[in-house]
């Protein structure tokens, strides 16, 4: 039977999931999202976990700063539990940076970004690891967040309200009717089945892979995939997000990840040819660490757990490269530009501006589908599961009392799931214990995410639950998830092995680089002793 949709969205990152949510809110419930891997598996998952409040772009890109500021406030309202208002301290040390600070404050005043100048003493007493020889400091709003959860929350918000989300379904061709895209050819990667879907409109939100999609319709778009490498430390040297007041460059700051007690060093900017071929650059990490160590010297004592990388979907019709390309958003109407109707592309932008990107894309979709812009409510409607901080705290306390889960774990748990937290434990009480002591992840989450959040394997499970993203990188936790999957999800030992080893392999990708840096060799040795020496998976594998 032919499948007909109003709109098909390509891409399960934050833009795509934002678009499908907005579509549903405006009444286009017969919509479908296609993602070739998993939600937040590409650029969104490789993001550095700062939901920009605007402060970074105040000088370099004031429009983006304005959008970030506005959207940051929106996210705090519509999905408060996922957002961690850590605030930021920006510091200046050199003459050049002092000068930059003046420009920064002027622009911040212009766009209404709240900040206060604090004394060096105050800054260094609040953040004792900051070097004492900084000359200027200011505090401003900023937020950390869980990039997986936000993306997933948007997707499931749409799903609860009627849309379809298909992960591990890859678009492999465009169905054309003359110069009009009428549908897509899709590969279901779990079943290896190829099928067709038809839609009145296709919204291409494939991020750095956008051009690969439009090429199926016969034309390329000038994407400049740009790689950002990050390094993740095993602890939080600072409470707040720390940044250097200067034009964005490699190693401007440290993002303190309150939700899992790690910190993230970011972020480089390097053009790449193929968005699928992006290894973190060792030199970039070195440059960034040297740069941030100028203001936090003890950073050199911290251990790097892993390096990872995300590829930005930068778009330019000009000659500029790298950091000179705008971080702004681009909405491309291919009917107007290339004369190919039935498909629009939304690309560029920041994670923090995804909702706004979705809004402008869906505005255009409305015009194309019904001839007028229907009112947008995505900035007002709460995202599925949203709870306020206070409610989340209260629920955490109740969970602690009822299930004997440590308060700390219960707190992280309610921050991940919001109002669904309790339901998860009620449904799967037998696994209501912490299985990952580093990120404080609960066994019931394994059952819930496989049953209700379209998880196919433990790599997907990580994006839902953060399992193994802490200090032990899965060494002592992932086999426990394997056990639960066998016990409660009817996985066979061979399937569980595939999941566990698939996960170890995925973690190894990041550790592989951190090990070259030296920092992760002890953990690497332990992992070898665990999964080779003791586990014997090298010779006993059921595969």
């Amino acid at each position: 039977m032919r499948e007909n949709f109003d709109v098909v969205v390509i891409g399960g990152g934050t833009t795509g999931t934002g678009v499908i949510r907005d579509l549903v809110l405006r009444g286009f419930k017969n919509s479908l999202l296609l993602e070739r891997d998993d939600l937040a598996a590409g650029t969104s998952g490789g993001c550095h976990s700062a939901l920009h409040g605007g402060s970074r772009y105040v000088v370099s890109d004031i429009q983006t700063a304005r959008e970030c500021l506005q959207e940051n406030q929106v996210y705090r309202k519509i999905v408060p539990q996922v957002v961690d208002p850590t605030d930021a301290i920006w510091v200046a040390k050199t003459d050049e940076q002092m000068e930059f600070a003046q420009k920064w404050m002027k622009n911040a005043d212009d766009i209404g970004l709240p900040y206060e100048i604090i004394s060096v003493e105050e800054a260094t007493s609040e953040e004792p690891l900051l070097t004492k020889d900084i000359r200027f400091a200011l505090r401003t709003i900023d937020t950390g967040f869980d990039p997986f959860r936000l993306c997933i929350a948007q997707a499931y918000d749409a799903k609860k309200k009627g849309a379809q989300i298909r992960t591990h379904h890859e678009v492999i061709g465009a169905l054309m009717d003359g110069k009009r895209v009428v549908g897509l050819r899709v590969l279901d990667k779990t079943e290896n089945n190829i099928y067709e879907v038809y839609a009145k409109l296709i919204i291409n939100a494939a991020g750095p892979w956008c051009s690969q999609i439009t090429e199926m319709a016969g034309f390329a778009i000038p994407m400049k995939p740009n790689k950002g490498s990050t390094g993740i430390y095993s602890m939080r040297p600072t409470k707040t997000l720390i940044g250097i007041l200067r034009t964005p460059a490699d190693g401007d700051g440290l993002v303190s990840q309150g939700f899992q007690n790690t910190a993230l060093l970011g972020t480089s900017s390097v053009d790449v040819d193929d968005p699928d071929d992006a290894d973190p650059g060792m030199d970039e990490i070195k440059i960034m660490e040297d740069s941030v160590a100028e203001i936090i010297p003890d950073l050199r004592e911290a251990r790097m757990l892993r390096f990872c990388t995300g590829v930005r979907p930068l778009y330019t019709t000009g000659e500029e490269t790298g950091r000179n390309i705008s971080r702004g958003m681009f909405l491309l109407d291919h009917e107007e530009m290339e004369g190919v109707s039935g498909m629009i592309t939304i690309t560029g932008g920041k994670y923090a501006t995804a909702r706004l990107m979705a809004e402008v894309a869906v505005d255009m979709a409305c015009e194309k589908l019904v001839g007028k812009v229907l009112p947008c409510t995505s900035d007002k409607e709460l995202i599925y599961g949203a709870t306020t901080k206070e409610e989340a705290e209260k629920e955490a306390q109740e969970i602690h009392e009822k299930y004997h889960i440590p308060r700390y774990a219960a707190h992280k748990f309610t921050a991940r799931y919001g109002e669904f937290a309790k339901t998860i434990l009620e449904k799967y009480p037998d696994q209501a214990y912490v299985i990952d002591d580093a990120v404080q992840m609960i066994g019931s989450e394994v059952c819930y995410s496989f049953k209700e959040e379209d998880v196919e394997n433990f790599k997907d499970l990580r994006r839902r639950t953060r399992i193994g993203m802490g200090q032990e990188q899965g060494t002592f936790s992932i086999y426990k998830a394997g056990g639960i999957a066998q016990q409660a999800l009817d996985m066979t030992p061979a399937e569980a092995e595939e999941c566990v080893l698939g996960y170890v392999q995925e973690r190894w990708k990041g550790i592989y680089f951190a090990a070259q840096y030296g920092d992760q060799l002890p953990l690497s040795e332990l992992m070898q002793e665990m999964y080779v020496g003791m586990g014997s998976y090298d010779v006993l594998s059921l595969e």
């Binding site: 214990y433 066979t492 392999q505 090990a515 030296g518 665990m530 003791m534 010779v539 006993l540 059921l542």
Partner: protein
């Protein structure tokens, strides 16, 4: 208690350190050991692996570890064993008798390797396993009925999943057993949902704990029309009185009883290291616990070792003391043990002030569980045939052994304890000869 000028000073507190100290004593000389803690032996499974698998694109499982060592040396002629395999038997014997003196009985299969079930649901290969694990080993071809018991709240071991997995993984090893599982609930520690291996072991060391577990199992076996040939437990049957509890359980069950192997849980590793320490102390070794060696310096006819005594932090620098001894044995372990340090593109051995260079992509495989093993595991210090470190500045009076040595991959080869025993015995013997 101090080291004095006639002692060999062994730096380290793990398996290799203990064997080296024993070799010195057996040579009729005196020995002192300095160590801040039990090192990685303390979190090990408490088993002895000598040679289990010859790694490679097509890894070869060794049935007989002695043949395994020969096969390994054909493939890797420069391997650590090429220098010290002559002392393998003596070293292993030394370790077995030290452990036995501390009432930790290790049992082997006369040159044959044995596969014991572990907490991951697979099997681990060893030459010798403690008496608590011995009866759990796979017996090829034997149709047995095995019950796997889990303890509710002890989340490190999932008995149900483990039993399902053992059923599958035993096939490659010729096992024909049927694995069953059950979960028991111990109530003695109150209203807790989660309990660690260590807490459980502490509880089972108490009278009440033992009584509760034994009576639970007794009831289970009595009211059950199925009988089992073997019952497996997680490795939590006490830190101190595990032999007693094991005997009681066997009597209550009327069948074989064993613990499974675990890594990182500290119970079995703790038993093993403490037993070996007791054995060494009985023989007259001086164990200077809580002492870390900070600096080695060559002296006339000896080595000066600067040590810090006691637990230290930024406010408590500890007391510094320098021992001058005729010879030193370095048994400080690999990356996990702390003998090899690695930070910021540099890999070095602190006490030897020796840099091992950078870890490169040649030493790391993209495949996490690679049958040929990760080459970075082979990093370490180069030694001469007598196990003295190559650096001339120490005049041949500093020896090294165990995982700090270059040229072996203890995880892929399952050779950790064997390498430690063989290299440490040789190092200890030659160090003693310097007095």
């Amino acid at each position: 208690m101090d080291a004095n000028k006639n002692d060999v000073l062994v730096i380290g507190g793990g398996t290799a350190a203990c064997v080296a100290a024993d070799a010195v004593l057996n040579a009729g000389k005196s020995v002192a050991m300095v160590f801040p803690n039990g090192g990685s032996s303390e979190i090990s499974a408490g088993t002895l692996d000598i040679m289990g698998v010859v790694p490679g694109e097509h890894p070869v499982i060794c049935d007989d570890y002695r043949e395994g060592v020969e096969k390994l040396l054909e493939k890797y002629p420069g391997h650590t064993y090429s220098k010290c395999k002559g002392e393998l038997e003596t070293g292993v014997e030394a370790l077995l008798s030290l452990a036995e003196a501390g009432e930790y009985i290790l049992k082997g299969f006369d040159g044959k390797n044995v596969w014991v079930p572990n907490m991951l649901g697979t099997f681990s290969v060893n030459a010798y396993v403690p008496s608590t694990m011995y009866e759990g080993a796979v017996v090829p071809g034997e149709k047995e009925r095995v019950l796997v018991v889990g303890v509710k709240g002890n989340v490190a071991f999932n008995a149900q999943a483990a039993a399902m997995s053992y059923q599958q993984y035993q096939k490659k090893l010729g096992g024909k057993a049927d694995y069953f599982s059950t979960e028991i609930q111990i109530k003695g520690w109150g209203d807790r949902r989660k309990i660690s291996d260590g807490e459980l072991a502490d509880y089972l060391d108490t009278k009440e704990g033992k009584k509760e577990l034994v009576s639970l199992i007794q009831t289970f076996c009595m009211n059950n029309r199925y009988s089992f040939d073997k019952i497996l437990f997680p490795p939590v049957l006490g830190y101190l009185t595990y032999n007693e509890l094991l005997a009681e359980l066997k009597e209550a069950c009327g069948c074989k009883v064993a613990e499974v192997a675990a890594l990182g849980n500290s119970v079995a590793g703790y038993r093993f290291t403490r037993a070996v320490y007791r054995g060494l102390e009985k023989k007259g070794a001086k164990l200077l616990r809580g002492v870390s060696a900070k600096k080695l310096e060559a002296a006339e006819n000896g080595v000066k070792v600067e040590c810090v005594i006691g637990l230290t932090d930024q406010y408590h620098p500890g007391k510094r003391e320098t021992f001058e001894v005729p010879a030193v044995v370095l048994a400080t372990g690999g990356f996990v043990g702390g003998g090899i340090k690695a930070r910021h593109t540099d890999v070095w051995i602190e006490l030897l002030e020796q840099h091992l260079g950078k870890v490169t992509t040649d030493q790391l495989d993209r495949d996490a569980v690679h049958p040929a093993g990760q080459d970075f595991m082979r990093m370490g210090v180069q030694v001469k045939a007598d196990m003295s470190v190559e650096d001339k500045k120490y005049n041949g009076r500093v020896f090294a052994c165990g995982d700090v040595l270059a040229g072996h991959n203890s995880a892929s080869e399952r050779s950790g304890a064997g390498i430690a025993a063989a290299s440490a015995y040789l190092a200890g013997k030659n160090a003693a000869a310097k007095i």
